[in-house]
Symmetry: C2
Subunit: 128 residues, 2 copies
C-alpha cells in the first residue's frame, strides 16, 4: 500500500502519516523507488492512532497506548490509568469552558447589539 491508500483507509492526511513516521509512531518499509510501503499492520496501527487522537489522547499518550497494545504482557491497569488521567483532564477542560460559556452567555444576553456604543461586554472587560 502507498501512502495515498492508507490515507484513504484511515482518514488520516498523508502529511500526518509522514509526521507520525518522523516521530517514530510507525515505521513503514520503503520500496526501491523511495516510496513508503505500508503493510496491513501499519495501516492497522495508523487507524488505532487515528481513533486514539479522536478521543483526544496526546501523541505521547498514543505512543504509550500503542506500546501497551503491542505488549502481550501488559496489565489493563496501565491502560486504564492513562485513560482515566486523560478523562480527568477532559473533565477539567469542560468545566473551564462551561465557566467561560456561562459568563459569555450572560454578557451577550445583556448586550443590546445595536448601533449605540454602550456595551456591557466591554464594560465587564474594562472593569477596574
Amino acid at each position: 500500500m502507498n501512502i495515498g491508500d492508507v490515507s484513504e483507509r484511515t482518514g488520516l492526511p498523508a502529511k500526518t502519516i509522514r509526521y507520525y513516521e518522523d516521530i517514530g509512531l510507525v515505521r513503514p518499509a520503503r520500496d526501491t523507488n523511495g516510496y513508503r510501503v505500508f503493510r496491513d499492520t501499519d495501516a492497522h496501527k495508523l487507524a488505532f492512532l487515528g481513533r486514539a487522537r479522536a478521543l483526544g489522547f496526546s501523541i505521547e499518550d498514543c505512543r504509550t497506548l500503542l506500546a501497551l497494545y503491542e505488549d502481550d504482557d501488559r496489565a489493563s491497569a496501565d491502560v486504564k490509568r492513562v485513560a482515566t488521567e486523560h478523562l480527568h483532564q477532559i473533565e477539567d477542560k469542560i468545566a473551564q469552558l462551561q465557566a467561560m460559556r456561562d459568563t459569555l452567555n450572560e454578557l451577550v444576553r445583556c448586550c443590546a447589539g445595536d448601533n449605540r456604543p454602550d456595551c456591557p461586554i466591554l464594560k465587564d472587560l474594562a472593569r477596574q
Copy 2:
C-alpha cells in the same frame, strides 16, 4: 510603573506583557535606561486583555475588542458579534469534549484495571 509592577497588578507574566508589546497590543513608553514605563492606561489595557484572554478570546479577537473599546463611536452590535461567534466556538468545543468524555467514561468503566492484559479500551481503539 515597571513591568514587574504591572505584572503583579494584572496577573500577567512579564514575558507575556513583552510579547503583547511585540505584537502591538500595548505600546509602553521607555525610560532612558531602556526599561518599559507603563502608565495607568497601559496597565488598564493589559488588565482588559487578561480578562478577555481568560474568557478564551483569541489574540486577534482581543485586538478587535480593544479597538472597539477605544472607539467611542463603536456599535455594541460589533462587540456582540465577536462575543457571540466566540461563544459558539466554545459551545462546539464543549460538545466535542463531552462526546469524548462519554466514550472514555464508558471504556474506563468497562476496563477491569487489573494485571491481566485483556482490555476493552485497547480493544475499542484497535477495532477493525
